[in-house]
Symmetry: C2
């Protein structure tokens, strides 16, 4: 051998002033955990564990404000100013509504470490319906684990494979071309596991595509993200979520009724109450009976209050 | 409070099947350390500590082969096939020539975990001269720490801030738009530290620009990379490397002579020997005396061997 005896890096000397620190540690919050990407100023991934208990409760979005995560150095953080006027909405990765059990947990989902620049229609539409589907799993499974995050996928431009994405604001927050979600659902004790992985373009999707149109194998998602998901889970020890549970998102009619129902609950005037129902009719949506009952109850309540 | 008492994530349950693993640990090699980017299939950063001892010695590039890093899962690795025919060269971050002290250390610099797709002219030209400058620091400082890596910087496209970069091969290896290098040089015991940070476009540079044209503050590089460099080094405890040491790269004449000298050393025929000197003349480069002496010595050596 031509070596002079020094076979290994002199580690103490190499590390005398510290190795580069890309802020790669896992950040724990009350209701979720985040792997943050300091270069992109967005999460790399956000992990949650939800149950029927956690998604039920009195916590609400009122008075919740998006804000820079105080645990992230300003140098590497996104700020509300980056998003405002950018044309991109602030899209939760761990959804606020998954934290109904705790106002504190919900508050932390509004940290920008849990947020990516998301197409507005996607955020309130398809992605919202995917989140609703994930919550609905809690009625059929004891435990649901969800990992969500942004992706920038290559595309062909002038015949060449390119990654092309926007950055917004003074912090150069990276706008993802796609979002991913991995869902693992099981019975108590981690039995009968079902897994589904999805990659959804960060653009308006509408009601025509099905969730299964965006399903990918876990292996493909790992290749695209560079991340190993559920590393302690034996490969192939799960069933396909969409085969077992259908992966049916709420349809247009039910979704419109659901949104109207939420608006009803928040309304404080009879005039606005009637507007909500009127807009449903204009969209050709016939309110289902549950919604009609809620409308009548709320109207009586408001009229009584008005008469006092 | 509206909370039901569960203020913290149930961490054992959240982590039951493991949190996402992006392979973010530091990888130690004989002569360098790597933070690898599994999504890009390139290093995120490569760290070295060099001295006049380490850059001197018998190790050489002969029989050295680029190869996939055996410690990286194939799913997340680059392969030689990704680079071949791509139009991009395999650019070392920790240069092979910084490991003259150890053939083992040099061999590991050929792992593709230490390599990024680099413009060929940049690799053999400006970046090579920057590496030579870093080695030259070893004659004036006792210890030199170097961190190198790829960058994908935003640019204005149609008035919008975008990141746009190519990916190559079946592994979608990310082609950087820029390369960075941070150089910290000191006397023994970490005294009299000088620091310089540079961001160089991944394209042909030529001899007109100076190294200082590409200098940035450490803070600016940290913002661009999302990485904190030398985190144990007190901010502002260093002098500017280029003010103290000049940051002068080798000029065209000296560089051509240097390259010719290396080619002379490797040549095994008189015909090729004369070709090397002839090409210098064609480029208008007058060989310096040291080179002429080496040429004459080598020629005599080859002629004698030929006569035997
Ligand atoms: Mg949302
Ligand atoms: Mg090179």
């Amino acid at each position: 051998s031509s070596d002079n005896g020094e076979h290994k890096t002199d580690i103490p000397l190499l590390e005398q002033f510290g190795l580069p620190d890309a802020g790669l540690h896992t950040r724990q919050y009350a209701g979720h955990a985040v792997g943050f990407n300091q270069a992109r100023r967005t999460p790399r991934w956000v992990a949650e564990h939800i149950t029927s208990t956690k998604i039920t409760g009195p916590a609400n979005r009122k008075n919740m404000k998006f804000k820079a995560d105080p645990s992230i150095q300003p140098h590497f953080s996104a700020f509300n100013e980056d998003y405002l006027g950018s044309g991109w909405s602030r899209g939760h990765m761990a959804p606020a509504a998954n934290c109904k059990y705790s106002q504190d947990a919900m508050r932390e989902t509004f940290f920008l470490s849990n947020i990516v620049p998301q197409n507005n229609e996607n955020n309130s539409g398809f992605w919202n319906r995917l989140e609703l589907y994930c919550r609905s799993l809690c009625s059929r499974f004891d435990d649901v684990w969800i990992i969500s995050g942004p992706l920038n996928l290559p595309q062909k431009i002038d015949g060449k494979d390119c990654v092309h994405h926007y950055v917004i604001g003074k912090s150069d927050v990276a706008v993802p071309t796609h979002l991913f979600k991995v869902v693992l659902a099981g019975r108590s004790g981690g039995r009968s596991l079902c897994l589904g992985a999805f990659v959804v373009p960060n653009e308006p999707i509408g009601y025509t595509p099905k969730l299964t149109d965006f399903q990918v194998s876990l292996s493909e998602l790992e290749y695209k993200t560079g991340i190993s998901f559920f590393p302690k889970l034996r490969r192939g020890s799960w069933q396909d979520l969409c085969s077992v549970d259908g992966c049916q998102l709420m349809n247009f009619h039910d979704m419109e009724c659901y949104i109207a129902e939420r608006k009803l609950a928040a309304t404080r005037s009879v005039h606005e109450l009637d507007n909500i129902m009127q807009r449903l009719v204009e969209k050709g949506v016939e309110p289902h009976n549950g919604l009609l009952t809620k409308y009548k109850t709320k109207k009586e309540e408001l009229l009584q209050r008005f008469q006092k």
